[in-house]
């Protein structure tokens, strides 16, 4: 069956999702509350410190071999797995909460000590700095020479303030997801440069009595500044202890080797809970990132007076994007990263991926995501909910992709990493809220219609589903032609929709 998007199907689902969040409860997060299994219509306002740790040399790992082959992926996954496990130990020992680990980036929350305590925020930031340094030190030794796995170079970003903790949108997904400035700004610090070190936003710097920095992303904490945080935080665990535990754990639960196999498309039917290193999927696919543009500013605007609207807007848009990706286009959603969807699409057979069709499907899917996004805004607006200045930035790329789960047994984290995943994210970040960008490999693998659409800049404005189908079908793209034919049930209308017209203009 042709994968497609239908206005009425989207409208029905959006209306249902709006009903889910008619009444929303916002609770200030305090001692002993659980952030697990948050209902869709509830959010916690959490005053805490957000820590992002980026492994800088993941890209090097992915590029050790000229070809992005099996060896390259095997080493990269082993590299991440070793480091994930070490980080897991650190966070558990230091009473910090892992929010997520996606690719090279760890997101953790330090919520303790709570605000009831004196000087709580400064204590949290110092604690975060001490944890950051521990991560840096440990990951500097958790490589594996025998397996050509290097140590990790780590860059940490830290911010502090109020964010909203909401449900992460996965069935059975216990971890919350955080919306708002501190999560976003911490990520900008960790992702904002190629030098290792610990980088605090000015917000976080002021909280521990440091002077504001003109360019905080270029101003790592000094050794002395870190040492004073370590002294004050007194984590009570050393690098040596963590290393010993990590080694002991590896001895008891060896990672085992990564074994790759293909999943018969569509990827929607892939059950991620069955994935382990020994059962890792690897195949040519399209990786798609769709990010709600302007959402961090939206949260900042609403978190004090109308946080309910943040929950409404987010719940409705996320659920609808998820539905389009999964149900309309048979894709495999990997995760939501804050307000951003990451997923994979693949057309073909058990043996081979149909490159062209996969790229065409990804293009149509990108259009559909935008159509649904716009429809969701319209319907939220009808309910009197502010949706001002929100956009959707979409990027995708094609290439060999991996899907697996890493980390400790019983607490495995989904992981889909490859050059294409990183490129698709980069493509998305070069888009504004009405743009869609295609990566160079997808561009080359696509039909001529796809290449013409995106042009040499590999980017197109305001591409919705109708436009994607029309513009690709016009140039003879088979996937789009099939979708277009399926859209018109009346033969006369189908014939009309295929007619080439040459309208004119008169002086009269």
């Amino acid at each position: 069956m042709a994968k497609n998007w239908k206005h009425d199907r989207a409208a029905d689902h959006i209306e249902k999702k709006i009903k889910d969040v008619e009444t929303v409860t916002i609770v200030d997060y305090v001692r002993d509350m659980s952030l697990e299994n948050i209902p869709a219509n509830k959010a916690f306002r959490v005053d805490g410190v957000h820590l992002y740790a980026d492994i800088l040399n993941l890209t090097d790992m992915l590029n050790v071999t000229a070809d992005e082959g099996v060896t390259c992926h095997r080493r990269t996954l082993r590299f991440l797995n070793l480091h994930y496990r070490a980080v897991h130990r650190i966070l558990a020992r230091c009473d910090a909460r892992r929010v997520d680990f996606h690719n090279q980036r760890l997101h953790a929350l330090i919520a303790k000590p709570y605000n009831a305590e004196n000087d709580a925020e400064a204590k949290r930031v110092r604690r975060a700095v001490a944890i950051a340094q521990l991560i840096i030190d440990v990951l500097h030794e958790t490589g594996d020479d025998d397996e050509h796995i290097p140590d990790a170079d780590v860059r940490v970003g830290i911010d502090t303030g109020e964010a909203l903790a909401v449900n992460n949108g996965r069935r059975g997904g216990r971890e919350p997801l955080f919306l708002g400035e501190p999560a976003n700004h911490a990520a900008k610090m960790s992702g904002g440069g190629s030098n290792p070190g610990i980088y605090l936003t000015n917000n976080a710097r002021l909280a521990i009595g440091l002077a504001e920095a003109a360019r905080p992303a270029n101003t790592p904490l000094t050794t002395a500044e870190i040492a004073s945080c370590q002294d004050a935080a007194d984590l009570g665990v050393s690098k040596e202890t963590i290393m010993a535990e990590w080694r002991e754990d590896l001895r008891k639960n060896p990672i085992g080797s990564f074994e790759f196999s293909r999943h018969t498309p569509p990827l929607r039917t892939l059950d991620m809970t069955t994935l382990t290193p020994a059962n890792t999927k690897r195949q040519e696919s399209a990786s798609v990132y769709a990010d709600i543009d302007g959402f961090t500013a939206y949260v900042a605007r609403h978190i004090e007076e109308t946080p309910e609207d943040v929950v409404r807007v987010f719940h409705v848009i996320r659920a609808e994007l998820d539905r389009v990706f999964t149900c309309d286009f048979d894709g495999r959603r990997i995760r939501f990263i804050g307000d951003c969807l990451h997923g994979l699409l693949c057309d073909g057979t058990v043996h081979t991926t149909d490159d062209k069709e996969t790229v065409s499907t990804a293009t149509l899917c990108a259009g559909a995501l935008r159509s649904s996004f716009e429809l969701a805004l319209e319907k939220l607006g009808d309910e009197g909910i502010d949706t001002d200045s929100l956009g959707l930035a979409i990027g995708f790329e094609f290439g060999p992709m991996t899907i697996t789960r890493l980390g400790m047994q019983g607490d495995r984290v989904r992981c889909s990493v490859s050059r294409g995943v990183l490129t698709s994210e980069a493509e998305q970040t070069r888009c504004s809220g009405d743009e869609t960008a295609i990566g160079p490999l997808a561009h080359d693998a696509g039909t001529k219609a796809v290449r013409d659409l995106f042009g040499s800049g590999r980017k197109v404005k305001s591409l919705d589903y109708n436009e994607a189908v029309e513009v690709l079908a016009e140039k003879g793209d088979d996937t789009a032609l099939a979708a277009k034919r399926a859209a018109f049930s009346t033969p006369a209308i189908a014939a009309a929709s295929e007619r080439i017209i040459r309208p004119y203009s008169e002086r009269k």
Binding site: E467, V469, A492, I493, A496
Partner: protein, 272 residues
Amino acid sequence: MSPSDDLDIIASCAAEFGAVEIARTRLELKVQLPVPLADGRSHSYRLVIAIFRGVATAQEEKPHLLPEFCPARHINRDGSFCLFWRAVDDIVIDNVSAARMWWETLIRFLQQQVRAARLRHWPDAKGRAHGEKAAIHQLRAERAAGRLGAPFPEDLADGRLIVEVSNSSGHGPAVRLLHNGRRLYSVWRRDRRVVNQRQPCLCPKGAQRRPIVLKSCGDHGGAAADLALELQSMAEEERRFWNDFESTQCCGTMDGCPLAKRESSVRAERVG
């Protein structure tokens, strides 16, 4: 045939395209026409269809979903849709299959209008040039592109070919043909010939190991000259076409529309 016979033929096909007849006089047919789109949306237009000098015209009863006038969107000053150029693409409604072709054209026109409104430009480059004189030059340019062979017809249809006038010399002004902004060749306007006749031909023969030059490649030198000059004349005629609307404003829904500029400045004044 009388206008009313023609109208009968049009009306007889209405139902298969989903149109519902609202009213009917000897010269006019009023219908409600839902136009489904590829994404499942459907906009319903209330249209007046008339037969005028053997040609069927359609327009919105009142401008509701479309602007009342916009040459860039192929809507004439009287609100009628400029569905095709009669001189070349005329559809004479004297049988059912012609009527079907006309309905198909109308529906496709309305589908394309939705895309145009979103893109702020006509969705493909297949529209005829604006005004009869420009359209004739466009037609000649298309024929010249056809003589040159692939990829010229497609490049022309996709709007990738642009001309500009360069400095004059002893031969008078020259016209430059650009492909995606890159110069392909120049043509002496007065002599109607390519400036550098010794450049490799633009067809595959010019890309051979021992390329055939334009001058010696059959009709290709002449075709190249015609293509550039006709495109230049078309551009000039289009400019004149727009100048004729000097005092007219239009909807402002299309980027780069010469008539829309005044509209937006008026709007800015109103807001200020």
